[in-house]
């Protein structure tokens, strides 16, 4: 069924909305990667099994929607009863029968499945009332967790492709670029470059062939926003790209999907096929003269391929070696032709801006940083999950109001943003507004949106060492400052973690870092020293403790800690002996056990299984 007129699209949308309305209630089962790992498929199966057995009025398997990530990963598996918005948490397959009986057939709410507000112990029925959600503003994630991703009808029913129709029938390419420029939409991949400016520069290059590429590499460990958007709302990615292609004059596009995200690739492929069938992608889109095709390009496991010039080489089937950007890729990109490369989140903001207007978008956020940003809030925070907030929201609000503070009652120590190209910010920076410019000024960066919360049991020297280790293994190896410099920085942090560091080593690392920043060819090297420099800046005491006192205050660095059984408390149950992979613990039943410090690898398995708190770390 090809749509050749906007009127047809409107009619279809109305029709789909009507069909969806035939179910008085629908059930959303969150099937994002996190909930799937927690057993969401079993929940879906339980629904299907139950509905096969019993007939329910105005409700059948079609009303059970498998959606993308709803956001509150920590509370998963999640089941939402719509349209009321009743929010059930940590659902088990055995709960399904009573959910159908009580909340579908009747209007009762199952108390024990509701979210409990830790502030006052009260149960909250609707997710919109839960602080985790109420402080958010979901624009890029508007459909994620709400619609069935692989069904184009659901996307059309929520005004999907309406912006595309508006663009193709009532706007010129220049008008589109004007609107995007006016909105001050900045690249959400971390660079924060003006999307409108990029599109305009590409359009102005005289060329017959241009490309539009969507960067779905999301290599920052700890970030899964783009993953959730590609898995949960693939059509919005396509719509944004098609509008961009129209604006810059491209006929061919690529979506570069990380190899580690197979589900995202499958969903996008399905979405491409469906939109082609509907005439919304491919030849003569919506009956106009504009044609644009999209192909998927799979990554193969290389963080450096998130860098635009390396990505383009990878699309061309080569090794992901970046090149100097004295001539920008908007001028000479894929196959040396003008190419617009934007992040997933940047593209999904485009249809919203077209539909609601640049002025509306600019009202959200703060000056020069309009709109919202999606983040993956993870680490030692209570409410881990996928969130989206207006630019300018403070770190404190995100970590405490949305995140619920630190788990296990521990103390906040730092928040890491921008992945391996970003930095750690301490408590004193908690009232920093989260936007591109403020974060960069403080020594970190926005990055793609990974936000990792650390507590007092996280060693910041170890964190610096960890990031350097990551970068060393991901460096392409082309240029000396990155390949050799980051390697030497890593060796120096290892030295400090092992208790063999000197104070001169800190100075040495600072100096070498400056040279790496200046001399490296691409962003990986240039930003590589940032985690190290920001931890030295804000946590210098911790470095000095490792060096002067040969102590790791957080109790992490293996060489500087020791595990010991407290003989007075130990009951001799030998749970630790069974748990110890290295067989470092010996002792007789019902007698205090002994850890052999020469064999012990400080993994903490014994402490994890000990019910009597009989194991201490010094």
């Amino acid at each position: 069924m090809r749509i050749v007129k906007p009127k047809q699209l409107e009619q279809l949308a109305a029709g789909y909305r009507k069909t969806a309305g035939k179910h008085k209630k629908t059930v959303t089962v969150c099937c994002g990667t996190g909930c799937l790992a927690k057993g969401a498929q079993k929940i879906v199966d339980a629904f299907e099994e139950c509905l096969n057995r019993r007939k329910v009025k105005d409700f059948d398997v079609e009303a059970v929607k498998k959606t993308g990530c709803h956001g509150f990963c920590e509370q998963g598996p999640l089941v939402v009863i719509e349209p009321q918005g009743i929010f059930y948490t940590k659902v088990k397959p055995k709960d399904i029968e009573s959910i159908i009986e009580k909340s579908i057939e009747n209007d009762e709410v199952i108390e024990k499945l509701l979210y409990t507000n830790p502030q006052d112990g009260r149960k909250i029925e609707k997710y919109s009332d839960i602080p985790f959600y109420s402080h958010q503003r979901r624009i890029a994630l508007r459909n994620v967790g709400k619609i069935v991703p692989s069904d184009i009808r659901e996307y059309i029913a929520v005004d999907g492709y309406k912006a595309l129709a508006k663009v193709l029938t009532t706007m010129t390419p220049d008008q589109v670029i004007d609107e995007i420029t006016k909105s001050e939409l900045r690249g959400r991949g971390g660079g924060g470059f003006s999307a409108g400016k990029k599109w305009r520069t590409c359009r102005n290059v005289a060329a017959d062939v241009r490309y539009v590429i969507c960067n779905g590499d999301e290599g920052d460990p700890g970030a899964f926003m783009d993953c959730s958007i590609m898995e949960g709302d693939p059509h919005s990615v396509l719509e944004g790209m098609i509008i961009c292609a129209f604006a810059v004059g491209a006929k061919q596009g690529y979506i570069y999907v990380r190899d580690e995200y197979p589900l995202a690739g499958i969903r996008l492929q399905k979405a491409i096929a469906a939109s082609e069938e509907y005439g919304l992608l491919g030849d003569k889109i919506l009956g106009t003269d504009f044609s644009f095709s999209i192909r998927l390009s799979r990554g193969a496991g290389a963080f450096v391929c998130g860098e635009s010039s390396a990505l383009m080489r990878s699309v061309a089937g080569e090794v992901g070696e970046p090149r100097a950007k004295y001539i920008h890729s908007v001028v000479k990109g894929l196959y040396d032709l003008p190419t617009v490369l934007n992040n997933v989140e940047t593209f999904v903001n485009v249809p919203v801006i077209i539909n609601s207007g640049a002025d509306w978008f600019k009202k959200i956020g703060v000056a020069k940083n309009s709109g919202t940003k999606a983040f993956s809030l993870v680490g030692k925070v209570r409410n881990t999950g996928l969130i989206e907030v207006a630019m300018g929201t403070t770190m404190r609000e995100i970590i405490y109001d949305i995140g619920g503070g630190i788990i296990d009652g521990r103390t906040f120590k730092g928040v890491q943003t921008g992945g391996p190209s970003g930095g750690c910010l301490p408590e004193t920076q908690l009232d920093l507004p989260v936007d591109f410019d403020s974060l960069t000024k403080a020594g970190s960066m926005m990055g793609s949106g990974g936000m990792i919360i650390m507590d007092d049991k996280t060693c910041m020297v170890d964190v610096a060492r960890y990031f350097l280790n990551f970068l060393v293994s991901e460096s392409c190896g082309k240029c000396v400052p990155c390949r050799e410099g980051l390697y030497q920085l890593h060796k120096l942090t290892e030295k400090i973690c092992e208790g063999n560091g000197t104070e001169e080593d800190i100075e040495k690392m600072e100096k070498l870092s400056q040279q790496i920043v200046v001399g490296s060819l691409c962003g990986l090297g240039k930003s590589g020293p940032k985690p190290l420099l920001s931890t030295i800046k804000y946590y210098r005491d911790e470095y000095l403790a490792h060096i002067r006192d040969k102590k790791c205050p957080a109790g992490v660095c293996k060489n500087l800690i020791a595990y010991r059984v407290i003989p007075e408390t130990c009951t001799g149950c030998m749970a630790c002996v069974n748990a110890c992979v290295y067989q470092a613990i010996t002792g007789r039943k019902k007698e205090p056990q002994v850890i052999n410090p020469d064999i012990c690898q400080k993994c903490g398995a014994c402490a994890a299984v000990c019910k009597y708190n009989a194991i201490e770390v010094s």
Binding site: V319, Y326, V472, G477, V480, P481, G485, V518, G519, L521
Partner: protein, 258 residues
């Protein structure tokens, strides 16, 4: 033509030229280990970095690799600021950690006052500085027999599967252009060995000396209109032949007395 200022002096260049070519023409001594006129510039060693600015940048500066930066009218370039010297020192220091026993690196580092590395040297060092010249030249020659393998610090230059490379013809372009003489080959009688492959050398019909490998000769005659038996003669023999022929023509034209 464009006009620029280099270290305070005016210099002119053709549109589309890279800065490094202009600097070399102006006899400015800039190291550039990964550079060769015969192949595309690479930007890997970073030693050729210079500081650039323009009047309209209002004091803003940029550091770029001159091998890859196209000339612009009004560019103001500094090649030996303290920052640049410091950068080159650090790069050479890092090179020495990888190749502590390589004369070419030791010499260049010494020029910048670095006599030994202040970092941790690698265990089992060799002479390869990973400049990539060998692979790029091999590609340019049309063979693509070797390439950069692995990535990051484990990167190395190797033939495919680390076995004898099937596409190699033994032309020696890689070995002869390696800045540190890392690539070893041996010519013994009429056998050449390089990258683990053995080649037979063509025998000069006149002198009985070895010339180039049979494979290289086959390739050259296949890809040009040079007849295959041309390679049965060494360069010197060809030159002698050519000189004698020219001499005969000159005598015939009465240009040279008999």
């Amino acid at each position: 033509m464009v006009t620029m200022t280099i270290n305070g002096k005016l210099a002119r260049a053709k549109e589309g030229e890279m800065l490094l070519a202009v600097l070399r023409r102006e006899k400015i001594d800039i190291p550039a280990l990964c550079h060769h006129e015969a192949v595309e510039p690479y930007g890997g060693c970073r030693l050729c970095m210079v500081e650039i600015t323009k009047k309209e940048w209002a004091g803003g500066k940029n550091m770029v690799t001159s091998c890859l930066y196209p000339v612009e009218d009004g560019l103001i370039i500094q090649t030996h600021t303290t920052d640049l010297i410091e950068l080159r020192k650090t790069i050479l220091d890092l090179y020495l950690a990888r190749c502590p026993n390589t004369p070419a690196i030791q010499d260049l580092a010494a020029q910048y006052g670095v006599t030994q590395t202040s970092y941790e040297p690698v265990t089992d060092p060799d002479d390869c500085i990973l400049c990539g010249l060998c692979t790029r030249i091999c590609d340019r020659m049309g063979f693509g027999a070797i390439s950069a393998v692995n990535r990051g610090h484990s990167r190395e230059i190797a033939p495919p599967m680390k076995n004898a490379p099937p596409d190699c013809v033994g032309c020696l372009a890689c070995a002869l252009n390696c800045p540190t003489n890392h690539i070893k080959y041996s010519d013994r009688g009429f056998t050449r060995e390089i990258w683990g492959r053995k080649f037979d050398l063509v025998r000069d019909a006149k002198t009985g000396q070895p010339t180039i490998t049979k494979e290289f000769a086959d390739y050259l005659s296949k890809h040009s209109d040079i007849p295959r038996d041309y390679f049965e003669l060494k360069d010197e023999s060809h030159r002698r032949e050519t000189a004698l022929s020219l001499g005969k023509i000159a005598i015939w034209n009465r240009e040279v007395p008999q």
